[in-house]
């Protein structure tokens, strides 16, 4: 039986169909979840996709945090269900306090779309186990508010506990503290990532196919159980 990965659609979600496609390409079953419905349809893992939920009008992810689906998600995440937030999804995870810190306006003050080199630094999270530690990958990055900030104590703790999942290489595109591109919670099941692995799963449409590892990681974690 294939692993069921839910992809939540909020009003204003944009990369939801892309995330579902990535799940399928990786060999999983993508299940559409609706923001207004707290039923998680027996999924094994969930992705909060990129986009501009609620127009990102107040603060990115601030309004989405209060959606009915988030109640069930927070509950399940706290009991270990794998949850990946990409871009806007990362912002929602921070706003929901599932992950520490916050994402702020890019220091360039511009929206930035580029093919970004990253180093995978944590290969024990539910979403990165299929990478080799230190592996360098290139996947698209596209955001206007992707600067990761947290106080120094939090940053130190993240680094000490190996919870920085990926770091920017070459250029820091948005002013993220300590070049952080993605982080995980203590348990390793919740991951937030600013760049977009779901746009690097087919050689035809992505700069590489390096992004597929995030999706195969979570699928394999169930097979190996």
């Amino acid at each position: 039986m294939s692993v069921r990965v839910g992809v939540v659609t909020f009003p204003g979600s944009l990369d939801d169909r892309d995330a579902a496609r990535a799940v399928r390409i990786a060999g999983g079953e993508a299940v559409a979840l609706w923001h207004g419905d707290d039923d998680l349809k027996q999924v094994d893992a969930v992705i909060l996709p990129g986009g501009f939920s609620y127009g990102d009008y107040l603060r990115c992810g601030a309004i989405a945090r209060f959606a009915p689906v988030m109640h069930s998600l927070i509950e399940r995440a706290n009991t270990g269900m794998p949850l990946l937030g990409i871009c806007n999804g990362f912002q929602i995870l921070c706003e929901s306090h599932l992950l520490p810190g916050a994402l702020t306006r890019n220091d360039s003050l511009h929206f930035m779309c580029r093919d970004q080199r990253l180093r995978i630094e944590n290969t024990s999270s539910a979403w990165t186990s299929d990478f080799i530690s230190g592996q360098e990958i290139v996947i698209p990055l596209k955001n206007g508010e992707g600067g990761y900030v947290a106080d120094d104590r939090t940053l130190d703790a993240l680094e000490a506990e190996g919870r920085v999942v990926a770091r920017y290489l070459d250029v820091n595109p948005n002013g993220s503290r300590r070049d952080i591109a993605g982080i995980t919670n203590e348990r390793g099941n919740v991951v937030g990532l600013m760049p977009h692995p779901e746009h690097a799963v087919e050689s035809l449409t992505g700069p590489t196919t390096d992004g597929i590892g995030f999706f195969t990681s979570v699928l394999k974690s169930f097979v190996s159980l």
């Binding site: 009003p11 944009l14 892309d18 986009g51 127009g55 929206f111 779309c113 746009h199 035809l204 449409t205």
Partner: protein, 750 residues
Amino acid sequence: MSIDTVAVAEVSPEHSQPFAELGLKPDEYQQIRDILQRRPTSSELAMYSVMWSEHCSYKSSKVHLRQFGEKAPKTDALLVGIGENAGVVDIGAGWAVTFKVESHNHPSYVEPYQGAATGIGGIVRDIMSMGARPLAVMDPLRFGPADAPDTGRVLPGIVAGIGGYGNCLGLPNIGGEIVFDASYSGNPLVNALCVGAMKHEDIHLASAKGVGNLVVLYGARTGGDGIGGVSVLASETFADGGPTKRPSVQVGDPFMEKLLIEATLEVLQAGLVEGIQDLGGAGISCATSELASNGEGGMHVWLDRVLLRDETLSPEEILMSESQERMCAIVRPERLAEFMERCAKWDVEAVVIGEVNASGRLTVDWHGDRIVDVPPRTVAHDGPVYERPFHRPTWMDALQADTPDHLERPTTGPELRETLLVMVAAPNLASKSWVTSQYDRYVQGNTVLSQPEDAGMIRIDEATGLGVAIATDCNGRFTKLDPYAGAQLALAEAYRNVAASGATPLAVTNCLNFGSPEDPEVMWQFAEATRGLADGCLQLGTPVTGGNVSFYNQTGATAILPTPVVGVLGVIGDVATRTSMAWTDAGDHIYLLGDTNDEFGGSEWANHVHGHLGGLPPRVDLDRERALGEVLVTGSQSGFLVAAHDVSDGGVAQALVEMSLRAGTGATVTVPTTLDPFVFMFAESAGRAVVVVRPLDTGQLIDLCEQNGVPLAQIGVVLTASNLDFADLFTVSLDDLRREHERTLPELFG
């Protein structure tokens, strides 16, 4: 507050009306009185004035635009032609594609961010109104001099607006243009293109059919946006003081538009919609009169049911409001509940504002009073038509006689190297990635090619790989030197760009940006360009499916360069076969297809190095373009073209620089013995492309070119090294080229 009703109008024929303030000529006002057999009410006057404006009625351009239909090449591919919100083209396998380009020039000058943002919003709704899912956008832009202070104000705002709106909608930006020229100072051009796709059975039209069907207005609430002019009327109906202040600028809400897209696609998919129309210029006036005029009967509207953002709006203002993010649907009564449910699911407000009837009239009531009673065709379609006088400008002879032949040319290797470095940094040739990196090109996961490739390409059908490619082009300097040839050169370039990507050119859209039609010399440019484009489309077998005209682009008495932006759409059976402009393997052979002549009239070299514009543009030969296209497409499908790039602005040198920077590896280049090195590098002769093949495949390329009568010459070999070697002349490193090519825009706009 008194309301001007039909009953009042009937008994007060002498009441004087501010038609001139609303832009109507005395004879046009008289024409309205003749149609109605009485004076119009102020609401009717509002409707006619806006629907008969140049922008909505095409009254100055209509007689010329007819050629696009009359000269249209016969093709079965055209499912919906000119006249609808957007044309629809059959691309096979049951799929249809709709695309269109529109201008939002003036609003973008006044308020760059919002003007450009709402330009994207408007064209996206046009595409939706055909029943299609919008798939991608493009943005052909024109600005004043790159270093002018006003360009520094306007450009960043426009780019941020296009990105801000398009990114938030989830539409990848797959291409566009950025051109600087002094003629656009104070009058930038913001053209926006959208492409969408649907299955054949999902094509919808803007027509109100079926007596008893309901007219539903949904989306954003109606506010006082964009009704500056009509406030004249509103103030008439207020006892004193006039209405409260009306915004002069429309503000876009891309989030609402995103919801509108999803809600619209759902109601269309569920079969809940009989006819559909977007609300753009002229708002409810336009939507209701066009729907009714295209339908078979009449329509009645209860205007007081319209949901308002501002309760002080008068009926005239509601009729004319250009509030964004609204759509109008014709729905059968028994499907209304379901329609409303789907809208509610997406938090989109909807309200029934009218009903289709058999009266043959468009009637509008305001709290029980009849304020409009008109034959809808007279508003929407039978507006005035002008045969504006035009004549060839007296200055054309002198302009064409002032050829670039006397301009000083570089001759030695070091001089040519220096010129190359200057040219790749020219604002018109420099890397545009400062702009394009502000646009999301990945969203939807179907973008196969985007900037800096020749054409944008998207996959439509994941199962088969069916896709389309689009390019837009126009060299306004060429069009100034010869509008007929210039329009054909624009067409040829877009056609060539699409072919270079491996797609077969199929159809054309256009946005004709010109100065004032009341100036006979501008009108001549327009007439010539239109004729050139129509003739060209016939010759290339690519019909015009739609487009847009933007007049009055001028500052004072000086018109912009005539700028007929041409968009060509091509189809590709499997996007996996597309050709990129990046070469890959060292040792591969580089060929130049087509003939190079000493042609510098209107060239970027004459413009950038000498500030010169004169002479004749490059000769255009559309049969040769077609033959070149055949080679590019067949070579791509046969799989032996490793890379291809069209040659246009900046000539062969620019093309080679772009290819090597894209690939990250250099080449050694040999100037054909028949050519002067300078002419070889910088001439802008049409009908050319640079292609790359593996050494083993050169025979195939030569055969294919022979079959099609396309001349070719080997001009180089791909290297592993990172420099571009012009044999016996000079060598330049890719690092130097990249630095010069990429620094211009960031230095100007930060």
